[in-house]
């Protein structure tokens, strides 16, 4: 009796009681999908019919010669290569500017932070209007300095850069907050010491600021790459993959296969295989970035 009572009141029992609801939920909706998705990727299946057929490696083999997937992969890489460096370097510049005690600084910060809480759909509606090729404010403003007119989302060659511009508007605040936090972690004595040693602004930046925000930069590079490779909402809502498939990205292609065409035709297994390959690529890339980054980044303290 005594032993039972002690077991029940010990941390073993109560600990599990505390974590059980969360662990159960995460196991069902976080861990299990990873395994069942892998299983699905070896099958011929559609989302709505219970009929499934084992297909071996067929789905994975099909990935190799799917021209539309190749196009989607190229588009995804194009987006990532534009988005990651521009958003991160832009955010660093902005964070440095916002890291001072000048008048209106709270207003400036608010202006940069506000898009962070704006939903993709709301952002999309605003930018479809702003970048409207006929009545858009952007064409009017750019025309004022002798540029354009642009077709933006309607022109095959301009759609992706327009998407990049729109998503950078939405993401800048996020990156800037991370950089601001890192900048404020820099002891003031360090930049003062550099100034006393006669270092100029650029030299201080190069030798003090840049190395010290290294961890934040690494984090943002990994994270921005991850989210850029998984771009979906903006493409789905704003460009629908067009024009001429020029903004069709991998996750969008997977969505179409599984949830539009795959409802009736058994394409869900193939879509799951693509998603799995994307997952492995993303994971490998993150690990490589962290590994390389850790060799270059200096951690203080």
């Amino acid at each position: 009796m005594e032993r039972v009572r002690r077991a029940l009141t010990s941390d073993h029992a109560i600990g599990w009681v505390f974590v059980a609801p969360s662990v159960l939920l995460v196991a069902i909706f976080g861990l299990y999908p990873i395994l069942s998705g892998l299983w699905l990727s070896f099958q011929k299946a559609s989302l709505l019919s219970p009929v499934r057929e084992f297909a071996g490696l067929e789905n994975y083999r099909a990935i190799m010669d799917d021209p539309r997937l190749k196009q989607a992969a190229i588009n995804t890489i194009y987006y990532t290569v534009l988005f990651v460096p521009i958003s991160i370097l832009g955010a660093l510049a902005i964070a440095i500017a916002l890291n001072r005690r000048i008048r209106f600084i709270r207003f400036y910060r608010l202006a940069v932070f506000i898009p962070v809480v704006t939903s993709t759909i709301a952002t999309g509606i605003m930018f479809l209007w702003l970048l409207d090729s006929t009545y858009g404010l952007a064409n009017w403003a750019l025309g004022g300095i002798g540029l354009g007119p642009f077709g933006f989302f309607e022109r095959p060659s301009q759609a992706m850069p327009s998407l990049v511009a729109m998503t950078i508007w939405g993401w800048l605040g996020f990156d800037t907050i991370i950089y601001l936090a890192a900048l404020q972690g820099i002891p003031q004595e360090l930049s003062e010491a550099a100034a006393i040693d006669g270092a100029g602004r650029w030299s201080t930046f190069r030798n003090v600021t840049w190395p010290l925000v290294g961890p934040a930069t690494l984090l943002l590079v990994v994270w921005s790459t991850l989210s850029a490779l998984q771009l979906f909402d903006e493409v789905f809502f704003v460009t629908k993959g067009g024009p001429l498939g020029r903004t069709s990205v991998v996750v969008f292609y997977v969505y179409r296969l599984a949830f539009e065409q795959g409802l009736a035709i058994p394409l869900a297994g193939y879509a799951a295989a693509i998603a799995y390959v994307l997952f492995l690529v993303v994971l490998a890339l993150a690990l490589v970035q962290f590994w390389m980054g850790n060799r270059m980044v200096h951690y203080s303290s």
Partner: protein, 302 residues
């Protein structure tokens, strides 16, 4: 590892500093302008960041004819506030708001409760398998919804939740990010108070509710606003799980559909959009410090 190093660095930052109240770098320099030269960069930047919103606001107060004009009419003269009630009538926005509110409120509350419980156990108790379980939970943070969308959909479908608000609620009742954030926070609290209470015979639950929770208000507020933002703005998950039931549309889903149906009715669409953004913006203005802190801590999520 590296993420933790950055995490520690971010943890030490005072949110007041991020908002621009204390402790910023200030250099005395000879002035070549009557104001700081940084304004020359920051003012145009602020304008560019705000223009999409201001332009939406202007269009929401114009007539349809005024929006169909090039060069654009920058100020409509008389403001047409009728666009707002008209937008509310043009679609079932009330239902969207209500659904989104129900989902968001449930998810936020449940996360506060379940994540606190789990985080307290992970932070303060040693139980069989606790380390392994914690690690396994964290590992799922690496897997974004996009890549497990199809299997997760199939699970929710087999639970019979498709086309119900439950599909949006149940899978999100406990978020690993919340568990992680609160575990880190609870570990920073002084353990002496809890020990004293233990000696006085308080239960674990009693300690959590009476001692730990009151000390954790800022962390809980941070989790609440971040979770609120994620749930309120979520689009992909409602998109795949609410298929044939407009009565279960969330605000984002409804807006996306509204945009398709009223593409050319710009003033109506913009009025609807302004209304959809208002709750989030108000919350942001009221709780800016918690948003900023939450985003700075989100750095851990990667």
């Amino acid at each position: 590892m590296s993420a933790t190093a950055t995490a520690d660095q971010l943890e030490r930052v005072d949110p007041a500093a991020l908002r621009g109240e204390v402790g910023m770098v200030e250099r005395r320099r000879r002035r070549w302008l009557p104001f700081s030269p940084w304004h020359l960069f920051l003012l145009p930047l602020a304008v560019v960041m705000l223009v999409p919103m201001l332009w939406m606001l202007v269009a929401s107060l114009e007539t349809l004819d005024q929006t169909r004009h090039f060069p654009p009419i920058l100020w409509p003269g008389t403001l047409r506030f009728e666009n707002y009630p008209n937008a509310l009538r043009a679609a079932d926005m009330g239902t969207w708001f209500w659904n989104t509110f129900v989902v968001t409120a449930t998810v936020v509350l449940s996360n506060l409760v379940l994540c606190s419980l789990a985080a307290y156990a992970f932070a303060r108790m040693r139980f069989l398998g606790s380390k392994a379980v914690y690690f396994l939970l964290l590992a799922t943070l690496m897997v974004p919804l996009q890549v497990v969308l199809i299997p997760t959909f199939l699970i929710v479908k087999s639970l019979g939740l498709i086309d119900h608000l439950g599909a949006l609620i149940v899978p999100n009742l406990a978020n690993v990010f919340g568990i992680f954030m609160l575990t880190q926070f609870f570990k920073t609290l002084p353990v002496e108070l809890e020990e004293a209470a233990r000696i006085d015979g308080a239960s674990r639950l009693g300690i959590l509710v009476k001692i730990v929770i009151p000390l954790s208000a800022p962390a809980l507020a941070t989790l609440a606003v971040i979770q609120f933002m994620w749930t309120w703005n979520d689009f992909l998950w409602p998109l795949v799980t609410i298929i044939n039931n407009e009565g279960a549309y969330t605000l984002q889903l409804g807006l996306a559909q509204f945009q398709g149906a009223h593409q050319t009715d710009t003033s109506l669409l913009m009025a609807a959009n302004v209304m959809s953004m208002l709750p989030m913006l108000v919350l942001f203005l009221l709780a800016q410090r918690y948003f900023v802190r939450g985003i700075a801590t989100q750095g851990l999520k990667g």
